[in-house]
Symmetry: C2
Subunit: 750 residues, 2 copies
Amino acid sequence: MPPGPAVSAQRRDTAGARGAVVRAEALCEEDNDPRSLPGASASLHPGGKGAGGGTRRSTAPNVPSAFRSMGTAMPPSRWTVAWLLLLQGCSMGCSQPAASPRTDIRDCSVDPPYLPPTATNSSAQLSALRDAMRARNIHAYIVPSTDAHMSEYIAERDARLGWLTGFTGSAGTGVVTEDRAALWTDSRYWTQAERQLDCNWELQRTTWIESIGTWIVEVVPAGGNVSLDPFLFSIDTWHSYQRALQGFGITLLPMETNLVDQVWGNQRPPPPTSYIYSLPEEFTGSSWQEKVARIQQQMEEHTRSPTALLLSGLEETAWLFNLRGDDIPYNPVFYSYTLLTTTNISLFVDSARLTAEAQQSLLSGCPELCVELRDYGQVSAHLRHYAQGNVTIWLGTEYTTYGLYSIIPQEKLLEDSYSPVMLAKAVKNAKEQELLRAAHVRDAVAVIQYLLWLEKMVPQGKVDEFSGARHIDALRWAQQHSRGPSFESISASGLNAALAHYSPANGSSRQLSVDEMYLVDTGGQYLDGTTDITRTVHWGTSTPLQKEAYTRVLMGNIDLSRLVFPSDTAGRTVENFARRALWEVGLNYGHGTGHGIGNFLSVHEWPVGFQSSNVPLTAGMFTSIEPGYYRDGEFGIRIEDVVLVVEAQTKHPTGEKPFLTFEVVSLVPYDRNLIDVDLLSQEHIQYLNAYYETIRAHVGPELQRQQLEEEYQWLQRSTEPFAQSNAASTTASMLLITSLISVLLAQLQA
Amino acid sequence: MPPGPAVSAQRRDTAGARGAVVRAEALCEEDNDPRSLPGASASLHPGGKGAGGGTRRSTAPNVPSAFRSMGTAMPPSRWTVAWLLLLQGCSMGCSQPAASPRTDIRDCSVDPPYLPPTATNSSAQLSALRDAMRARNIHAYIVPSTDAHMSEYIAERDARLGWLTGFTGSAGTGVVTEDRAALWTDSRYWTQAERQLDCNWELQRTTWIESIGTWIVEVVPAGGNVSLDPFLFSIDTWHSYQRALQGFGITLLPMETNLVDQVWGNQRPPPPTSYIYSLPEEFTGSSWQEKVARIQQQMEEHTRSPTALLLSGLEETAWLFNLRGDDIPYNPVFYSYTLLTTTNISLFVDSARLTAEAQQSLLSGCPELCVELRDYGQVSAHLRHYAQGNVTIWLGTEYTTYGLYSIIPQEKLLEDSYSPVMLAKAVKNAKEQELLRAAHVRDAVAVIQYLLWLEKMVPQGKVDEFSGARHIDALRWAQQHSRGPSFESISASGLNAALAHYSPANGSSRQLSVDEMYLVDTGGQYLDGTTDITRTVHWGTSTPLQKEAYTRVLMGNIDLSRLVFPSDTAGRTVENFARRALWEVGLNYGHGTGHGIGNFLSVHEWPVGFQSSNVPLTAGMFTSIEPGYYRDGEFGIRIEDVVLVVEAQTKHPTGEKPFLTFEVVSLVPYDRNLIDVDLLSQEHIQYLNAYYETIRAHVGPELQRQQLEEEYQWLQRSTEPFAQSNAASTTASMLLITSLISVLLAQLQA
């Protein structure tokens, strides 16, 4: 699954997508990622996990205009001359699909307004919130879409924006005043917002905090108060609001009482009560004591000598203590904070939920390394007390709320973008690498089973997007160590795949057909690792444009995967190798190219990947590589693999840090039916053939072990080596012909 | 000439190189650019422009270890199989040059310290400065290397750091306390610093302000005062010092009296008195009134409705008013500030220096658009007065000092990284493009004359680096509209080219020889445009490694030059296309890949280029593309062209902004002797042949017009098309062979 859009100066807690980042290169980022995050797509299900009320259905896709390209379908050609002619083409016949009247979105310009059945009546919620605002003399209240841990995915009880607005996209900001209400979200969600909002809400099609500030300044009188819950906003976002409102006589008031929670009242989903458990030792890279010792060593060695490290990210505490829970769908984490000092460890969590083994594990380091369990709700008070001493508190600003941050006096702060725990987690040790590799072998089995099953079932008209998604989920569950999908399966046929954040709903999903392309983006949680893979297939005859686009997406995937680059290269500076083959003919995609992934943790594991806030690539990191191409109203393509950053063998070895490259650990062949071999270079073909040999070597034995003979045969067929392209085959022919000439000459002489 | 290192979180006014940038991607930037800025290399000349005293000479080069690569020279091979074998190579015989005792650098560990003749005795300067510090109770004083306009190049009277330390590198920071003194600079200048500093100075081999802060905190007692001249530091740098020193009981005091200037006294070079003149209309893209009107329109349309725009960058005022001067070597600018309000224009300049025509031009807009001339020294007072009103002042933080910035109340500020003038200047209009193209045609004539001259003279042993540099400077001066070189010519033979910021000195420069590679990086100022081009040549037999490296540098130049990319792509995200061919075999270069360039302005024109602070690429921008490869103690390669960003014709046209590509405007062929055609792809060869046709079409007629017949013949020889590579020639052979077989078969049948 692709990362969220690499928006600039926007963060998880703003209108920008979660997973987005700080200090981006301001003008050089796409903000048009059409991919979903699970929270968003879940909302399209009747009875799904979305917080809003009304009936929902999935309808025709709509892709932001930034992705549209108007090229026409071209016949493929084997010959260079023909290609050159084609380069002149498309001056005629490049038609766009005709617009049809829309009944799936609201129309607030008519009287009475037209609302689709997917819209939520928000009047009661707004009225209650406004009462609460008046009681506190608040003129505007800002509601974000994240939780107190800056989580990318959130639990239902944190879906405040969804409850208030009906909008269940994963990224957005709502602002409510006495008589107006507006929602800001990025282009991925504009159509969804028009389907889910009623006419109480203005939709603002941008995500810049400056824009939110400008709107507030226009509607709030001078002397007015604007408020928000500082425990739901990042430090940077808080400062951005401050800057946006300064000089207008408006006061920005942080208020610990969350007004939405107050009016949501007992309708708000309760805190989770499920177990928090220890990950068995066989699935951990090192003990929590070892991890803690390494972090404490970093604290000692730091020039600022921090006395404590504050961890707010849910992944951070889960990883550090080798604990897991299930507080957030698809993410085995649990509500928690950690304050790790040089002398002791405070874990803020609902301790009643810890299993006996987990409690035992946390006590096993005593008395040297004791974990003190404290109430989750006590973190602010404890931090306030601790910060009174002669201390220096280290924290990662990316995962810390302004609320916690503002408790600590400025001179006692040591700030980095990411905590040392986040950075340690990003680089997998040898055991963690082996665990993740092993998970990918079993995951490949499930995906191969699914692809073979589709080959048989689709021509019989027996599969739709929803039943397909359910089937692959079931196949994953059947694999050893499975803990289910790592995000809601994206299963999209034909034009639905162009709306790349589409997940199907039962009863309304599209039937899979040999006449359409099908995109399946899924992943699994296993005790040994998290997986994420996308394959796009066609069981019939693709159009020339589909085949060209697929091949160019594949070329991009290969060009980046086989790249050799210096150690510590920033992913952002190489991700365009995955786009070059598309760019060459005027095509592109609007989302990021990859994201880190965890060992039974998050499917989007920051700060690894190819976006501007990601840290430099280092041996031991895992990231996805996933270029795509999306054509509004027609089809969508994405080819996603997870790769491991490894040392490269170069002709000229450097005396310093070795160069790096990627090793692909996703082990499922691509659809031969969609590859135009004539577009590939020699290097592409060599790479593909080597990759297919790797797949055979690793997945073949596992298929046999699982007695999946038919799948084994399918794998052999699907990984037949590709013939070398013209140049090489010409050389071979030359040798043959030379022999032939010798024979002829001999005959002549005879 | 390459841009300075793309250092992160470092700026022109810090130890980092000038031309460096803010908000960089923190961990992903090189800070190892071995290239010089003119100010630095000039210092190696006896009697040169360096401010320090002692005799200077150029000695053996030294490249930071980050650039060393240990591959050995390999025999070349025409055959793939041989190449594959070579990939295994270099496991033995990869020797490094033996270290020899150094007499060119200081040795402070012996008693008495060893000082080379290039070192400056700084005792008197330090003593005077310390007296001044004591008089004001200052415990540490910080001295930067830039001027009050954050200029990349500075005039002698601004070379405060050079006067104080003897160090004349273009980037550095000095800090002096009661009993210690330290200089921070980046790896380009470590060797130079060891040659120029005496043992009064510690050399700190880093450029992070945090490191400077840590040092200060260690040596300054709690309660101590640290001071600096706020009119020589950027806003960001000031804040960085504040952060670095906070919490240690040390006060950071801005002090308008510059203590270095005070003790430098009447030895300090006086302000310039030369004329400031109007650029003739034929050399301007539009009148200053049109430029001002467009900027004022942007002010009106801005949501914050700024009432004034403050311009501190010397290029900004020069460009806006179509004025030029010569206050800074190689840069036709003059000391000035501009405050452009919605109702009037204040130009702060020594008005006595304006020519009558310039005065006339500035008055020509009256009474609607009047330029009020004010004393250069009045800018602070005027700004202070203006800022008392109900105003909003727009400024670009990159070129504004903290001194000016702090005059404006926070709520009256509108900050961007770059002013709208800087951004307008970056995109050349049609006329400016034509002017720059024309300058490059004449510039190509001079370079071609030089290359032919070298071909004849070098085998006779008649050229050294210095006389070569003088000759190409003279050839440029002879071209129409010439105003001399745009930076100090880099003319480096053999191992000197590995020290890429090497400029030769008379009497000590290396003789050019058919046994060595030679790198020449030069540029010209013409009334119609600024140029910058690097060619590397070899008149004899290159080693296999030299040829491979040269070819791969060329491949990188081509790969980036022919790239097709979406509009608004950030240069930083595509610059690695220029490195891929080198990376593939474990090679790299440590500097940026390109920089903007002006119309008779700066040879490094920000914010255009491929570094992280550069703005996205837009049609109409000019930038250099200049990959290289440097091998310590052996040779250096760089191939630099200036290119124009143009719209691309793609197979699939987009409905939105067109895709872009580059058009090369530098028009000088590459050295065929150094190109290994077998490494090139079909696309490379096609590209080269098309480029050579362009050179013939544009430069051929100009050579004939200038009656340079021998050069014309040289150009024809040097731009012969390359044969298509194996694949194509194989296809041709196939056709021949097929015919042959037909004949043979016919004979057989006969």
